[in-house]
Every structure is written in structure tokens, then in C-alpha cells.
């Protein structure tokens, strides 16, 4: 029975041309096997409760939060981010926008709301739960971050420049690990993220549940952790830098069908 199921999955992979190159990799086998049991739905449920929960000095929920498609519209919102928000006067990714809504709608202070932006296996953070819930509503839609507004162009270009910009005591840039084809670290393939062929499938699966750490992780966490691995000072949550990098990589992978929240090693 199990073999039949696996065969089905292999056939599905052959049909998807974007994934065809990954077929021979043992890592792809591992990914396929773990993908059968994705616990992200549990986080989505918790995220939904949190989205509707009244809190903060204004005792308000996030249900009127405008993620770019109008107040409270979740469908397709994640796939169209990062994007420019006129009310905030800047380009925001999902997590930055959620923080903006916590400050404006719920009246919470930035310090209080960002006290615990990344959770652990015992307890996910608000941003992680909300990201899982919001991102799910873009499942099956094409990634299409904003690129028409001058600020969006600026953010994209900044992200591109930062991607190749070497910093820190080890003189690392994102491109050091993610600028060449065929690199890997331990069992993980390092995707070449300035190439749509790799950026698409990768960006289409965040946020994700990480099997090795039993927790849900977001793109802000990924940026934060990459900078940690590069030995730079910690970037601020929702900073121009992290948003620009997310913007650059998402736009590079633009057009890919979103299929998250997914599962990672």
C-alpha cells in the first residue's frame, strides 16, 4: 500500500517540471515522505483564533487589518506581499504588516508586540501562528509581490544589492551560500536564490514547519538566522533590510504557485 502511495508521489513529481530537477536527490525523497504529515494545520487553527482574539489597549482583534486587499481580506493577501502600503509609507512583508496592525488597531507598543517574535517548539510566537493562518489563504495562487510603485522598485533593488553585499567578520553575503548552483550544507541543498528556477519553489513554501526543531518558522526568522550564521549584528524585526531581502527573493521567484505553509527538514 505504502509503495503505491510513493509511486503516486513520484508520478506527481514528474508532472511538475519545476521540481523535476530535484528528483534524483535523496533530500527530495525525504521531503516527499515528510510532506505526507504536515502539522501546519494545527498552527493555522491557533493562528485563526489569535486573528480573532481581542487584545491590546484598544481591546481589538486583527480582523480589520488591511493586508493589501482591503480590511480583513485574507484571500490572496500573502501571495501579493511584500508590497507598498500607502498608510505606512513603506514596503512591508506579512510579518511587518501584522506588527503595524498590532500597533494601529490594537494600540500595542512596538516593544511589547515584538517581545517574542520567534517562538520555540513548546510555544509558537504570535507572528508565526498568524503567518501560518494568513499564508494558507493564498494557497494555490501565484506569487506576485508588488513591483510597480517606485518604493517597491527601490525595495527590490535594495534587496538585490544586499543579497550580494559582503558583511561581517567572515565577509559573507547571501550569495556566498545562495549564489551558486549545486551547493549544499549537510543534507540540505542550498538553492541559488537569485535564480527564478530555485527561488520560485523555495519562496512558495514559506512559512513552514521544521521537522528537526518541531516548530513553525517564518521568513523574518529565516533572515534573522541567516544573519546570525553570517555573524552580523542581529537585524531588527521587520526592518527595511529584512523586508528588502524577502522582497527581492519573492519577486525573483514570482509567478510560482504558492503551496504553503509547507514542511522543511
Amino acid at each position: 500500500m505504502h509503495r503505491i502511495k510513493l509511486l503516486g508521489a513520484v508520478l506527481a513529481l514528474c508532472v511538475a517540471p519545476a521540481l523535476a530537477h530535484a528528483q534524483k536527490s535523496p533530500y527530495a525523497d525525504y521531503q516527499r515522505m515528510t510532506a505526507e504529515n504536515v502539522p501546519t494545520e494545527l498552527y493555522e487553527l491557533e493562528g485563526e483564533q489569535l486573528w480573532k482574539k481581542q487584545q491590546g489597549p484598544k481591546n481589538a482583534s486583527l480582523e480589520r487589518c488591511d493586508l493589501g486587499q482591503g480590511p480583513g481580506v485574507l484571500k490572496g493577501a500573502y501571495a501579493a506581499m511584500p508590497r507598498y502600503f500607502a498608510d505606512a509609507g513603506r514596503v512591508m512583508d506579512l510579518e511587518t504588516r501584522l506588527l503595524y496592525c498590532m500597533e494601529t488597531l490594537q494600540g500595542r507598543s512596538r516593544d511589547e508586540a515584538t517581545k517574542r517574535v520567534f517562538g520555540n517548539a513548546d510555544k509558537a510566537s504570535e507572528f508565526e501562528l498568524l503567518s501560518a493562518y494568513v499564508a494558507r489563504q493564498s494557497n494555490g495562487m501565484k506569487l506576485d509581490p508588488g513591483l510597480s510603485h517606485p518604493k517597491e522598485r527601490e525595495s527590490f533593488e535594495l534587496g538585490r544589492a544586499l543579497f550580494y553585499h559582503r558583511v561581517g567578520p567572515w565577509d559573507f553575503s547571501c550569495a556566498t551560500c545562495h549564489g551558486v548552483e549545486g551547493k549544499r550544507i549537510r543534507m540540505s541543498e542550498l538553492p541559488k536564490l537569485d535564480d527564478p528556477k530555485y527561488a520560485g519553489p523555495l519562496m512558495a513554501t514559506w512559512p513552514a514547519y521544521r521537522v528537526s526543531t518541531s516548530k513553525i518558522v517564518t521568513l523574518q526568522w529565516r533572515m534573522n538566522d541567516c544573519f546570525r550564521q553570517m555573524r552580523t549584528p542581529e537585524p531588527a524585526f521587520g526592518s527595511e533590510t529584512t523586508v528588502a531581502l524577502i522582497h527581492f527573493m519573492t519577486a525573483t521567484g514570482g509567478g510560482e504557485t504558492y503551496r504553503g505553509p509547507a514542511i522543511k527538514r
Binding site: 504529515n37 502539522p39 494545520e41 494545527l42 487553527l45 491557533e46 517548539a121 513548546d122 518541531s214
Partner: protein, 103 residues
């Protein structure tokens, strides 16, 4: 307070596939916390599946099962709209349940 559960029950030809996700820490009792002390055992011990109120599976599980486990199983027969109920009981006496109609 136990975290959420989620279940899907889909009808096949003469059988029903049920897949249930549950949030649980599933501590083995062998892991150490950041304070260096052992984290006490905390795991789902019993799993009960009912179809239209009748018990069809009573299972025992151990610490060997992972955090946030998924249980999937196939039931003989079944019809659209049958009510499937899954509940668990852990070693601390905490419990949770969910139900779904076969679709």
C-alpha cells in the same frame, strides 16, 4: 489546556480513510530543559475512535511517538455523513477530542 486537533475522514470504495492531527508535546521524560533538569514525561497514552457512537479502535501509544502526532487509519465500510469521533487521554489525565463527518 490542550491544543487544537484536526481530522479528515474521506470515503473510498468500501472503506473510510481517517487522518487526525493532534497537538501534544509528547515528552519522553529523557530530555533535559534549559535548566539542566529532566522534563517530566508527558505523552498521549490512549486513543479512542468511535463511529456513530460505537467504539471501533482503542489504542495505546507510548513516548516513542513524535510531538504533534498524526494518526491515520483505514476503517472498513462507512458511509457519507457517518460521525467519526477521536479522543485521546495522556498520562497527566488531560484529554481532548474532535469529530468529523465522513465526506
Amino acid at each position: 489546556m490542550a491544543g487544537p486537533m484536526k481530522m479528515r475522514a474521506s470515503l473510498g470504495a468500501g472503506f473510510t480513510d481517517v487522518r487526525v492531527l493532534m497537538s501534544h508535546p509528547m515528552e519522553t521524560g529523557q530530555r533535559k530543559g534549559s535548566d539542566g533538569k529532566l522534563i517530566p514525561m508527558h505523552f498521549i497514552q490512549n486513543l479512542t475512535v468511535k463511529v456513530n457512537g460505537k467504539v471501533v479502535i482503542e489504542g495505546e501509544t507510548s513516548q516513542a511517538v513524535s510531538r504533534n502526532p498524526v494518526f491515520s487509519f483505514r476503517l472498513k465500510g462507512g458511509a457519507k455523513g457517518d460521525k467519526i469521533e477521536v479522543s485521546w487521554l495522556d498520562n497527566k489525565g488531560e484529554t481532548n477530542s474532535t469529530d468529523a463527518a465522513v465526506a
